[in-house]
């Protein structure tokens, strides 16, 4: 009996967020029954796939105690790069996409290198990178919208269907599974968490802490680049102005809602997906109920505060 109670207590922080999510879904469902249809859930997942890919890839960065504010411009740049490769250089689709993702990896590597090697605050370095990448993208592509024309392969990435499910969802699922796999099944996953938990202990245990940190930024950059390609495909356009200010905060909010601590150590890819889902459900529900933007923002802020303080409260009871 006693052990059951103590088990339930330890379980509260784990389930606080899913329960909050279920309550929100229930509320929306009660107010608008159409919210609960399978088609709508597919739509929610389709809509969260871009932010979702960025968020799962950002999770590792945040787990090491870092942050990456430069995902917005990276998203824009990769779309632009793929556009140029396809349209101007007439590359085949596959290498173009690979090179696009590589752009993200390179920008991530630069941020990571500066942050890890010189131990500079990630927030300021990536803020600087945000400005540098945006400037470079605008320099290369100008502020114009570049229409993608007659590229059925490219269009398929964002708009196609595979087995009746949008291909973007498949990509999101694949990336999520890959990262969950990395987190759970590889030594890299443990090393990322270890760097965030106790960087010095990890270093003294012979781990290449700086390399691990850098790799997390590379992954984050690749995620943003992939997201950029999907978005470009969905809107049939590439532009240096995409991924406007606020994109990075959405992504970070999703990761943190998933229980990651910005101080590092804690975090899980699977729960980040939950965080993204939470935000996507809110957006979807607000649209369906036609809630005005002012109430949307106030309610969103309030719900996040309540959900997270519930988790914190439960955590403090356990400890």
């Amino acid at each position: 009996m006693l052990s059951l109670i103590s088990y339930l207590r330890t379980a509260i922080p784990t389930y606080a967020m899913p329960v909050a999510l279920l309550i929100v879904i229930g509320l929306f469902g009660a107010l608008a029954p159409v919210f609960l249809t399978p088609a709508n859930f597919t739509a929610i997942i389709y809509q969260m796939s871009i932010t979702g890919i960025m968020a799962v890839c950002m999770t590792f960065v945040i787990m090491t105690g870092g942050i990456d504010l430069s995902v917005g411009p990276v998203l824009a740049t990769s779309g632009l790069v793929v556009f140029f490769l396809l349209h101007i250089a007439h590359f085949p689709l596959f290498p173009a996409v690979v090179l696009g993702i590589l752009t993200g990896a390179v920008t991530g590597a630069i941020s990571g290198l500066v942050i890890a090697l010189f131990s500079l605050p990630a927030m300021i370095v990536t803020l600087g990178m945000l400005s540098i990448v945006r400037g470079s993208a605008l320099l290369a592509g100008g502020p114009d919208l570049h229409l993608v024309r007659e590229q059925p392969g490219f269009e398929f990435i964002g708009n196609g269907f595979l087995f009746g499910i949008p291909f973007a969802i498949w990509i999101f699922v694949a990336v999520s599974l890959l990262l969950i796999f990395i987190q759970k099944r590889t030594t890299f996953g443990l090393q990322v968490a270890a760097v965030g938990d106790n960087e010095r202990a990890a270093y003294l245990s012979g781990r290449r802490v700086k390399l691990v940190k850098m790799m997390t930024y590379v992954i984050c950059g690749m995620g943003a680049a992939l997201a950029g390609i999907i978005q470009s495909s969905q809107v049939h356009t590439a532009a240096a102005t995409y991924g406007e200010f606020g994109t990075e905060l959405d992504v970070i909010a999703a990761v943190v809602l998933g229980g990651a601590s910005l101080l590092g150590g804690k975090g899980s890819v699977a729960r980040t997906i939950l965080g993204v889902l939470f935000l996507a459900v809110l957006n979807n529900g607000f649209n369906i109920l036609n809630v005005p933007i002012d109430y949307q923002l106030i309610i969103k802020g309030g719900i996040i505060v309540i959900a997270l303080s519930l988790t914190e409260w439960a955590n403090s009871k356990v400890a």
Partner: protein
């Protein structure tokens, strides 16, 4: 109306000379302040062999402002004495104000300004006028008097869109607005124009949803898809800019309901015009933005070469750009050279 006559005149006129002629004509024909006297001033003579600084302060790098800049540069580059610079307002009022101050300090002769807010840039414009700098606003007017304003009218344009949309919807049904977040004046003008227009011409049409999609095509796809889930009986969509309208088109195409939908955008960028030609987007408000830039540049040339100092303006000039509600019927009349 006179709109149409001017349209016909403008077509095909792309070179500088004609632009200047047209600009001067526009100024002379009283579209611009009659009280604007072209005076003779020794200062202007002296200024001729100096470099003349002109700059364009935009809201932030964007398709529209970039097209303006093309028009501006086209005209200005023919005069070797003009230094032209394009500046980024970073979508922040205070940055625009700071850039204005810098340009005033630099002694710019003309500032082209796309103000984020009509009132907020007022004090800066006043300061510029005191220093004898001509400020020409593009698209968004300022509450403070300044040299000239070149615009496509947002409020009436949106009203016309409402009229056209209502006609196509048969005077009844439900409409969704894909809106921008508050904080920028054209958003308010377009929304108010559309809402007022619907009320005026087709009061039976209900505006069933008004959701923010952040100017973004992707966001608009998501938002409209959700709105349609809740209210499948919506048949009209107004996107406050073309990107959002095209996002709406994407969704309707995917849902296979495009033929039932009346979707309007605003601005008239190339992608939107092409979409109209393909029969997807119903229509948009089109303005020849290059021409708008050329007009502004022409007016600026007149100010500089004529030696008019901003202090001498008695009343602000207003140059209303003609606009077309481009639909499948009218889109053909828009020349490729006008498209941006």
């Amino acid at each position: 109306m006179s709109n149409k006559k001017e349209r016909a005149e403008q077509e095909g006129r792309r070179d500088f000379l004609k632009g200047v002629v047209l600009g001067s004509a526009a100024l002379g024909s009283g579209l611009v302040t009659p009280g604007l006297v072209i005076g003779e001033s020794g200062k202007a003579m002296a200024a001729q062999d100096e470099r003349v600084k002109m700059a364009f302060v935009q809201i932030q790098p964007h398709t529209v402002s970039s097209a303006w800049s093309v028009g501006l540069e086209e005209v200005l580059s023919t005069q070797q004495t003009i230094d032209y610079q394009q500046l980024d307002g970073q979508n922040k009022v205070e940055v625009q104000v700071s850039l204005m101050d810098t340009l005033i300090n630099e002694g710019a002769k003309v500032i082209f300004l796309q103000p984020i807010d009509s009132v907020a840039l007022g004090p800066s414009i006043k300061k510029a006028r005191r220093r004898g700098i001509a400020v020409i606003t593009l698209n968004i007017d300022a509450s403070e008097e300044h040299a000239a304003h070149v615009e496509m009218n947002h409020y009436y344009g949106a009203m016309d869109i409402a009229k056209e949309m209502g006609k196509r919807m048969g005077g009844k049904g439900k409409v969704a607005i894909l809106n921008a977040p508050p904080g920028i004046i054209i958003r308010d003008q377009r929304t108010n124009g559309f809402v007022d227009g619907m009320k005026k011409y087709y009061p039976d049409i209900q505006i069933a949803a008004d959701q923010v999609a952040d100017w973004s095509r992707k966001k608009a796809q998501d938002v409209l898809s959700n709105i349609l889930t809740a209210q499948p009986d919506i048949t009209g969509v107004y996107g406050v800019n073309d990107s959002m309208a095209l996002g709406g088109v994407d969704v309707c195409k995917q849902k296979g309901i495009l033929d039932k939908m009346v979707i309007f955008g605003n601005d008239g960028e190339t992608a939107a015009l092409e979409s109209i030609e393909r029969g997807e987007l119903t229509g948009t408000q089109f303005t020849d933005v290059y021409q708008q830039g050329r007009f502004a540049a022409a007016a600026a040339s007149v100010f500089v070469s004529g030696g008019v100092t901003a202090k001498e303006f008695k009343q602000q000039g207003k140059l209303l750009m003609p606009y077309v509600i481009a639909t499948s019927e009218t889109v053909g009349s828009i020349q490729p050279a006008q498209r941006w």
